[in-house]
Structures are given as C-alpha cells and as structure tokens.
C-alpha cells in the first residue's frame, strides 16, 4: 500500500498516533506530525511511496510539530524532532516541508554508515549511473530535475548511497529541492511535474520541492553501477561544454565532500577508488537546460 492509498482520515490518524511508516529507498522512517501543512505536503510529494506495517522496524523516527511555546500564537513555527529530540532551531511554519526534507537528509547523512555517502545527485539510464557532485548554486538540482523529467531515473537529488561490498549506487528517490530561479525554470521545463508551494526566505532562499517521478520511486530496490562523474556548473549565457577532468582530483573532491568517507577508513578509499576506476569524469558547463539534457542523452547512448 502506498501513502496515496490511505484515506485522508486514516493518514491523519496515523500521523498523530502510531506514525506513518514511510519507505524511501532502503530506509523506513516513522513519521509523526500534527500540522495540516505537513499532511498536505506528504500527500502531495509522497503519494507513490510504500507505507509499511506500523509494528515494523524503522530506521529513523522523525516528527514535525508545532513548538509549545507562547510564540505559537503569533508567527507560528514548526520544529523537527529526531528520536523525539529537538536537534535544530524551529523555523517559520511555511518552511515545515523543506525542513522535513533537510531533516531526512541529515538523518541519512549522519546515520546510514552501512553506505559510503557522497554529496551528489545520481540518475540512471540504460543501467548506468551518472554521479553529479557539486556545491550549492552550481545548478545540480535543476539539471537533476530536468534529467528526471526526460527519461533518466532519479536515484537521488542530494546523496549518492554507495554499497561497500560492490560499489553500486542504491536508489533513494525523494523530492528534488529547487531553489530560487530554478523553480521557475523547472515549472516551464516540465509543466506536468508536481511542485510544492514555494517556501520563501529560508536559509537557502525560496525553496520548492518537485515530486519524484513515479517510476523512479517504484524502482526503489534496483541499484545500478556508476559510469560517469559529472561536475555541473550553471553559468548564465555559457555555451554547453563537457570536458574531461582528472580522476585523481575528482577522487579528492568527492572524498572531501562525502558525508562519511573518513568513517570507513581504508574501505572507503577502496570503494571510492573502485568508482573512479569505472567512471569517466567530466566538468560540465551549461546555461540552457534543454541543450544540457541533449548532451546527457548523447552521453548515455554512447557504448
């Protein structure tokens, strides 16, 4: 059963009672909330995700609640709790949904050390995965969303989960976080895609979440082998270019930006080196999303 199959009253009852056991990729999260804005957001963005048995094992326990301070009577806020502990400051109510996503990222990035976790978007086509590491503002999420709407399977917008045994990329398809101008770019590029209401004045600017394509969500148990590492860079007015880059420099950059490379010691080195062995590495510059998608299509069609 998927979250979208639950009757609204049943969803509310679960979210305020035993929690909703939501499966995202290899993880199950028990989620509570007493906030209608969160219920609407979950229904909108997570309708296609499986809901598991209330009595089962959950990897993460996450709740988004209204703080009980007097402040709730003016400028209401939302607070994220992990294992019933408040780890972060509350945020304005309309940022509840992005805050939930950041909290889920935090939980995976901090706890899921059964994987080597790289800070990167990952997408798959024809059984091969492109890993796109990049700092904020590089156009990574826009490109990721664009490719996910043009035939690439979204595996993750934010985290590449790499198995330690065989170096495969494990899917964790969750909503894609779009910021500022990229929201308008994507609503024009993919008018049929589903977006959350933009949350304004977050610490990342205006943020909207794009629902992951249904097929990407459904293939939650389908890992794939990495074939390319591409560092995207959105540069207004730039010609599209795809240029080879040093594998050793790529290794260092990915290791430095990984969530848990140092946790795994020698094993982390071997796994990351194995990925570099099997991947072609590129710097990618773009300003036009349509053209960027064409370049990636050509890359995927190469033998």
């Amino acid at each position: 059963m998927n979250l979208g199959d639950l009757a609204p009253q049943d969803l509310t009852r679960r979210l305020r009672g035993p929690g909703v056991m939501l499966r995202t990729g290899p993880f199950v999260s028990r989620i509570w909330t007493d906030m209608p804005i969160m219920e609407r957001g979950l229904s909108l963005l997570y309708a296609d995700y499986p809901v598991e048995d209330d009595r089962g094992f959950a990897d993460f326990h996450v709740s988004v609640m209204r703080p009980r301070s007097l402040r709730r009577w003016f400028q209401p806020q939302a607070q994220l709790l992990y294992d019933h502990q408040a780890l972060f400051e509350p945020l304005p109510l309309d940022q509840a949904l992005p805050m939930f996503e950041w909290g889920m990222n935090w939980a995976v990035g901090t706890m899921a050390n059964q994987f080597l976790i790289l800070h990167a978007a990952t997408l798959e086509r024809n059984g091969r995965v492109v890993i796109m590491p990049a700092p904020p503002g590089s156009g990574k999420s826009t490109l990721c969303a664009g490719l996910a709407c043009r035939g690439w399977r979204l595996m993750s917008d934010e985290m590449a989960l790499i198995t330690l045994d065989d170096g495969l990329v494990v899917p964790l398809a969750r909503p894609v976080s779009l910021k500022n101008k990229s929201i308008e770019v994507m609503t024009r590029f993919a008018p049929d895609a589903v977006f959350s209401e933009p949350a304004e004045e977050t610490h990342k600017g205006t943020v909207a979440l794009m629902r992951a394509p249904r097929d990407s969500v459904a293939r939650k148990r389908d890992p794939a082998r990495p074939a390319w590492i591409v560092f995207p860079n959105y540069l207004p007015g730039a010609e599209t270019s795809l240029a080879p880059r040093s594998k050793a420099a790529t290794f260092m950059e990915m290791g430095e930006n990984a969530f848990n490379y140092s946790v795994h010691g020698r094993r982390g080195f071997d796994v990351l080196a194995g990925i570099l062995d099997s991947c072609a590495c590129y710097d990618f510059r773009y300003s036009d999303l349509d053209h960027a998608v064409q370049v990636f299509s050509s890359l995927a069609s190469e033998a």
Binding site: K247, A248, F251, G265, F269, D270, A273
Partner: protein
C-alpha cells in the same frame, strides 16, 4: 665516510594511479593525499627501492630526460621533505 641518508616508502599505504596522477591512503593517519605526475613518479621510484636525494635526482633525470642539475636536486629534496612530513616515506635505519 658517512653513508647517504636513504628513504623508503612506508608500509601502510594504499595507492591508485590514473593518467599519471596518484591518490594515496595512509592507513595509520587516515589521510588521503593527491600527488601530481612528478610527485607520483618520485613515489613510484621510492616504492621500487630505498633512495637518497641524489639517487632520486639521478632516477628522475633519467625518467624526464632532463639534466641532473641543482634545480632537480632541490626539487627532490623538497619532495622528500614533503613525503616525510606526510609520512609517505621514512628514513632507512642503518
């Protein structure tokens, strides 16, 4: 006569080479190092046999088909210093 100081690769390193560049993982410190092609060549020479600074300069001159001059010796000494600081090579006990 005093014997020249020789240096050898330490035993707790893993390395990978791509296109002449190298990344090295140090099991003891948990550090990862990135070496450019020249430093990679020097590391590989140390992996083959313990070397003094002058011996390294001679091997590098051969490899680069370059004169074995003071500039190269200076580079070799700085490289050995850097390798020692990062624990990639250690002095051979006599």
């Amino acid at each position: 006569m005093r014997l020249p100081r020789r240096f050898q690769l330490t035993h707790h390193l893993s390395r990978r080479l791509w296109d002449g560049e190298c990344v090295v993982y140090d099991d003891q410190s948990g550090d990862t190092h990135h070496l450019d092609p020249l430093a990679t060549s020097a590391l590989l020479l140390f992996a083959a046999a313990p070397l003094s600074d002058k011996e390294l300069a001679a091997r590098m001159a051969e490899l680069l088909e370059a004169p074995e001059d003071n500039e190269l010796l200076d580079w070799c000494q700085r490289t050995i210093f850097r390798f020692r600081m990062t624990n990639l090579v250690a002095e051979v006990e006599i």
